[in-house]
Symmetry: C2
Subunit: 337 residues, 2 copies
DNA sequence: GTGAAAGCGCTAACAC
DNA sequence: GTGTTAGCGCTTTCAC
């Protein structure tokens, strides 16, 4: 456990002052070339690295971003994190990660804990509970304390900050349109996130597409799943009450695949009898049988853009207006449609 | 963007010295109760929080753990991260995350970058490339610099540090045994990780189980998949060359589910004709049709234990011996066996 | 060309 | 009971 070498120690060993050593390491024009060489040689030999905490204290910059995400087991969030990490790293930033587990308290605590000079700013996606309870005082506090926030995917209109979103409305609209073009006559929507803003947008996009189609006769057909134990029962009831359903748009892939499974058990042929579309380009959608057509949110891009947006703000001293950037979604067509 | 309040400012506003304020905030017995009250009232009003960088510089502790994982899109690693985060947070530690993407260089860079006083120690699982290339100089350097490391899952015997592992040998042995007890006569193993130590252990466990069974007649049957494009072709060749295969143990779930799919296409009934076992308790194993029997590594426990182990070492000044803790695996029996 | 000194925000030993 | 001082490791201004 050899302790870390400091400027002071280098200076002592070289019979120089600390400031000279400091300058020499930066190739300052003030310092004699020979001295520079001596200093740098020793620094290299001793594997000197400037202490990050000291630098932070001095510069009042941590070069660290706080990332708060609702659920790391969710492929979408993992992939966004991957994008954030890439972009942050290549700009010299570290990432401190906190998981809200979709709980308001954990989210607020994380924000509060990191608002002590641990980070320069935040990238986050709002916890489900926070959005349901419509809390945002914790976000306000952080921004008032001078910590810029970039929200992605699950954002709040109540908070003034940079945002990266997906056009959930349009994505749902397009997915439903796709089913309509296949001449589907009874299209159901399954939602596990109707309590989230993005869930509402997806529902609206679905409704709008149906309404806009003059040849579509059926009413909207929305099935809400409120907790993990309900998937099977709700989706079974869908099929039991609507034998003639021939299109399903799900706002998440677990529902979509459960629908696939139940439809199959009931003897439906997919995609011949029923077309199914899910949401999120994750592994389960690629491995299901049949593989699932999905709306891809381009999670990697969301992450990269979020990081870039925050870093831009951190590095631009002139406070610019808050922006909301919309990332394109893609319909990835596979075997289920 | 109101800048953060400091002790100095509190002191000025209260006409007290900085040290008095500092002590008052800590309820020091030296300080007059009234003063304590005044100070704490103002601190609360101004929402004072001690600057973390200053504390770190002073105490030479960052209360931060560096976590380096190979692939965040892998459910196992995400879940371990969840465990680490929980345990670390409840002990007042933050987590800085770096993703090696299974590359040696990225792993070494991350280690190097964080070894500048950014963290107190590391929790990591070795990148595939690092293990294949048998590099470990970067780990040595970090430990020599005084940064304790806890390795989990993919560990190296060449490095002296704390470790959390799964008994991959035994897990594979037991899984194979399970298939033998079902009276399976031709059991194949599919491996995507034969270049990793854990992959070799799993292969050995499989072999040992077969050898130890006096009634088992067939030879070992090992199919190696070396890259993502080969899944279908390798597994198809398995079935084409061995029509009588009736048991499959896969060292990962993508192979297992691909096997499920291909077997199904070829008209095999699962589990009647063929039993399939995967590895890792992820979503795809629960949602596949039929749902997949798997070896669960108890990832959450691995994460929690790793964090606890590192924190123990950080807080125990007396350098104790390095330990390796083995986390129990479970065979989770579902429909595919 | 080199060094002394101040200061980032904080703690703690030591005055008074 | 309160204040002064030194110091954590570093940068930077200013003096020599």
């Amino acid at each position: 456990m050899s302790h870390k070498i400091t400027l002071k120690e280098l200076a002592a060993e070289l019979n120089l002052s600390i400031s000279t050593v400091s300058k020499a390491l930066k190739n300052s024009y003030e310092i004699n070339e020979k001295t520079i060489a001596r200093v740098q040689a020793l620094a290299k030999k001793r594997n000197y690295r400037p202490n990050r905490m000291a630098l932070s204290l001095k510069s009042n910059k941590t070069m660290t971003i706080g990332v708060i995400i609702p659920n790391i087991l969710n492929y979408f969030f993992s992939k966004v994190l991957l994008g954030i990490e890439e972009e942050a790293n290549s700009n010299g930033y570290h990432i401190i990660i906190c998981l809200s587990n979709n709980q308001y308290q954990k989210e607020a605590d994380s924000l509060q804990l990191l608002s002590d000079g641990s980070v320069d700013g935040f990238i986050l996606s709002i916890a489900r509970e926070t959005q349901v309870m419509q809390r945002n005082n914790h976000f306000k506090k952080a921004t008032e304390d001078g910590y810029p926030i970039v929200m992605f995917d699950r954002v709040s209109e109540k908070i003034e900050c940079d945002k990266i979103v997906v056009d959930d409305y349009k994505a749902a609209y397009n997915a439903t349109k796709f089913l309509l073009k296949q001449d589907r006559k009874k299209i159901a929507l399954i939602s596990t996130i109707n309590d989230l803003n993005i869930g509402k947008l997806r529902i609206n996009g679905y409704k709008k597409a149906l309404e806009g189609d003059p040849t579509y006769k059926n009413k909207e057909l929305i099935f809400k799943i409120n907790n993990k134990t309900e998937y099977d029962s709700v989706i079974t009831s869908l099929f039991d009450n609507h034998h003639d359903v021939d299109g399903i748009f799900a706002t998440d892939n677990v529902s979509a695949i459960t629908a696939l499974k139940i439809a199959n058990n009931k003897g439906f042929n997919i995609p011949k009898d029923i077309s199914v579309i899910g949401f999120s380009d994750d592994k389960i959608s690629r491995l299901s049988v049949p593989s699932l057509t999905i709306v891809s949110q381009n999670a990697l891009e969301i992450g990269k853009n979020a990081a870039r947006m925050l870093i831009d703000r951190l590095q631009n001293n002139s406070p610019s207006e808050f922006k909301t950037k919309v990332i394109q979604t893609d319909l990835v067509v596979r075997e289920s449609t």
